[in-house]
């Protein structure tokens, strides 16, 4: 059995809110192995966004520990976290979060800029990534000139380009119509199957979650169920 990519032990996150403390996560123990395709589900307020921020190294836990690809992330400084996000994580957001003034190609290059790669190499890798999501002919288009599905594919290319340990998708189809959603889900499936890409997807739609091989459900800040789909 291989080492888990993600391992959390007693992961807790409290927020102070108007004099009260909101306990968003109350001790989450989770292990995700390489090549897994996991959906994290739960109603709103269940803590799935908080968990996703912690797994994505955008936030640090109040208590508990978190290892990502063997590194203990829960003790890291801001800049170390930035480096981990850059190298280990590929984000796909609900709202795409592309830079509006930059071309598709430049958007995809951006993580490589922060990785310190030379321009030529960046270019080459970004072109490959865009081609792999079927946008080889849209590289110079700006986000506004692309459809929602195309934008999300640019975002997926941006997530892939650094060859991260995990792709972290936060409601990736939340802003897309159902046929486009299917299209995007096919890309994720393809990534998982052909590359063995580890994918963690946060969603509240069971239609989307069924694409994953494993579904983890959160309720009130704790894992209420963790089911493997029968192959």
């Amino acid at each position: 059995m291989s080492e888990p990519v993600i391992r959390t032990v007693g992961l807790t996150r409290d927020y102070p809110m108007g004099g009260e403390i909101v306990r968003a996560l109350r001790g989450v123990d989770l292990e995700i192995l390489p090549n897994e395709y996991v959906a994290i589900m739960g109603p709103s307020g269940s803590g799935k966004s908080t968990l996703m921020n912690l797994i994505g190294c955008l936030d640090t836990p109040t208590a508990g520990q978190y290892w990502l690809a063997g590194l203990e992330v829960s003790r890291m400084t801001d800049d170390e976290l930035a480096r981990v996000r850059n190298r280990q994580i590929g984000f796909v957001f609900q709202t795409f979060n592309l830079l509006p003034r930059a071309s598709a190609l430049h958007n995809v290059e951006l993580p490589l800029v922060y990785a310190g790669l030379p321009a030529r190499e960046r270019h080459q890798k970004a072109e490959q990534a865009l081609a792999s999501v079927g946008l080889g002919d849209r590289m110079e288009h700006r986000p506004a000139e692309l459809s929602g599905g195309q934008r999300q594919r640019v975002a997926i290319a941006r997530a892939l380009v650094t060859e991260p340990s995990i792709i972290l998708a936060d409601e990736p189809t939340g802003n897309l119509d159902s046929s486009t959603s299917e299209e995007i889900m096919k890309i994720f499936e393809e990534l998982h199957r052909s590359r063995g890409q580890t994918i963690v997807m946060v969603t509240h739609e069971s239609d989307i979650a069924r694409h994953a091989a494993r579904v983890v459900t959160l309720h009130d800040g704790v894992i209420s169920s963790d089911r493997l789909k029968a192959a």
């Binding site: 955008l58 930035a82 996000r85 850059n86 984000f91 957001f93 003034r101 993580p111 800029v113 922060y114």
Partner: protein
Amino acid sequence: MSLLEAIRLAFGMIRAQKLKSFFSTIGAFIGVMFLIAVVSIVKGMDKYVQEDFAAKIFGINTFTVSRRPGVQFGDPGDAVRRAWRRRPQLYEDDFHAIRAALPSDYLVAIESSNQAEGVVGTKHSDYIQVSGVSEDLFKIRDYQIADGRIFTPEEINHSANVVVIGTDVADSFFTGEEPVGKTIRIAGFPYTVIGVVEKQGNVFGFSLDRFAIAPYTSEIKKVVNPHKVVDGIIVKSPNDPMMHAAMDRVEGVMRSRHHLRPEEDDDFHLDTQEDVLSFWSKIANVLYTALPLLVGVSLVVGGIVIMNIMLMAVAERTREIGVRKSLGARRRDILAQFLVESATLSTTGAVLGILSGLGLARLVQAISPLPMGVSPMSILLGIVLGIGVGVISGVYPASRAARLDPVTALRAE
């Protein structure tokens, strides 16, 4: 991210928001424009005064003996002026004494001047500068004769009523006519024009060609200086090192003629080109002292404007900052991005300011006699100030951007 890419990114931002960028750089723009324009103009004046003005008015290796200083910076006060009035006059005999004391390769001349009206037929001129001089003055001033001749020592001895005029005077009385041989009444006395001096041009817009020069012995002495009194005795030495020796010599002659005891101060004055130059350098110093104040105020205001614009930019682009952070931008990457952006903004303003400043100086050059002098140092300083203002005013907004929490930033609208 390399600096070059950051600058390219910043230019992209400036292009996307041209008008806003223009307004945000206006402080740096105006400050640097002032800097460049004033320095260029003062430098041009400097060159002008040193190469042109002083030489035209005084002449090189030339000094003037007179009763009181010809150039004075500021008010010397009543007491000093009263003392000057009590000083003895200069006389024609002083001229002869100085002439006798100096070797023949020195040029010595009398020049006494006043303003007087010229009349030809029924035509009256404005006041022109009328001078009674001795013959060496033409050589000292390096006056080239365009037409006719200068007067001879004999004509001086015989108090001949002959006159050499400047081109302005020739043009106003004898348009299209031959001036030589014509008669012109100067301060009521009839004079025969014997020569016209080549055009001298002007200083600070004042024509140097509105003059009439006659023998100091002729009748205009009643207007310029009666009773063998003279305004000034001008001495030109053959070269620079010998001028100071000549000044010492002349001082000695004058002191002994005025019977001054060793402890007494001179009761006459020796003016040189250097006096004009030091007079000018005092004016230039005042300008150079006021300039940093003017530039400083514009730059401080400009810096505050840029800081506000950058704070707005950080607020507007919070989401972008969140995205960049999620993709691996460290604090220092975000800090550098916004610092470079604000420095690029103000440096762009500074470069535009340099261009406009040079344009302004060129305009002054075009509409006035002042030449412009471009100072490479001031251009360099302009650019350094531009970068400096941008960096300083960018520090606070950029560090706010860098400190943003990625989760909050990503949620921003």
